[in-house]
């Protein structure tokens, strides 16, 4: 099997374990867009865990960067305008659609939520069509 596939499968299993831990300990789904969005609308007693979760992601990122810096290779060569437009779409879209790859794609599908299955199929299909279109337009190589 292709080593990239094995890494993907193992990394995926680690992600599966981490969201299981969130459920077992805090009784919550690990929907990253939702957790972050909650920081933008702070409610008393409901903000610290969200900030610490984000901090955990960043500290984890530093560890990856130290152990295996090539994990952050493969950045795209698109314009700054493209990056900003994409960020706006992802922020707006994930909140409007109540979830992203983690909340819908991992947690929701694992409990066979119809909403999450439909959302995941939709954002992957939209991503495939977008990449096809942006490559035709020359925005992506």
């Amino acid at each position: 099997m292709n080593p990239d596939w094995i890494n993907a499968l193992m990394g995926g299993a680690v992600i599966g374990l981490s969201v299981s831990l969130m459920l077992l300990l805090n009784g919550r789904v690990t929907g990253i867009s939702g957790i972050i969005n909650g920081i933008l609308t702070p409610a008393k007693g409901d903000t610290a865990w969200r900030v610490l979760f984000a901090l955990g992601l960043i500290v984890g990122g530093f560890v990856i960067n130290y152990v295996k810096p090539d994990s952050f290779m493969g950045q795209l060569a698109t314009s700054d305008f493209t990056v900003v437009a994409a960020g706006l779409l992802v922020g707006f879209g994930t909140i409007m659609g109540s979830g992203c790859t983690s909340g819908h794609g991992v947690c929701g599908i694992s409990r066979l939520s119809p909403r999450s299955i439909i959302a995941t199929v939709t954002f992957i299909a939209a991503g495939v069509i977008a990449v096809y279109t942006f490559r035709l337009m020359g925005v992506l190589s």
Binding site: N7, G11, G12, A13, I15, G16, L17, S18, S20, L21, L23, L25, N26, G27, T30, S33, L40, W49, L52, F53, L55, G56, L57, V59, G61, V63, I64, S71, F72, Q75, L76, T82, A86, G87, V90, G91, F92, G93, T94, I95, G97, S98, T101, H104, G105, V106, C107, G108, I109, I118, A119, T122, A126, G127, I129, A130, V131, Y132, F134, L140
Partner: protein, 142 residues
């Protein structure tokens, strides 16, 4: 406090999983979505690995009457397929394809100190704020 420490641990482990899996490399994400070109299927295995674990752990954990560090479960129960769900997912998918970042990897990638992940993350937060403003006016979610 315990919940916050637990959340930190979950975020930390999640990021390690992202790094190992290849999700923090936008070119791989675009390669996965490039179904009609030189398709790179590897990231499909990330979902298979994650769901393969959580499908079973979810069932086992939910046998308990309550979580370990909280009194109640806070798992979404909505069932209705709404226009917001679909339209929002379409917008997210377009942005995901355009930058190769979804929210988790974008946050973890801030640690690389690269300007692109940081620029993406700030724009994403602004996008979330824009939705809040738009929702306040148009009541998408009612």
């Amino acid at each position: 406090m315990k919940n916050a420490i637990a959340a930190f641990a979950v975020g930390f482990i999640f990021a390690l999983g992202l790094g190992v899996s290849g999700m923090t490399q936008p070119q791989k994400v675009v390669g996965f979505l490039n179904l009609f070109g030189a398709w790179d299927p590897s990231l499909m295995f990330v979902m298979m690995g994650a769901i393969g674990v959580h499908f079973f752990t979810y069932k086992v954990i939910r046998q308990r009457t309550s979580p370990l560090l909280a009194s109640t479960w806070q798992v979404p129960t909505k069932k209705d397929i709404t226009p917001s769900l679909i339209f929002g997912s379409v917008l997210f998918g377009i942005g995901w394809g355009l930058a190769g970042f979804c929210p988790g990897p974008a946050i973890a990638s801030v640690a690389s100190m690269g300007s692109r992940p940081i620029m993406f993350l700030v724009s994403m937060l602004v996008g979330m704020y824009f939705f809040k403003l738009a929702d306040h006016k148009f009541k998408f979610k009612r």
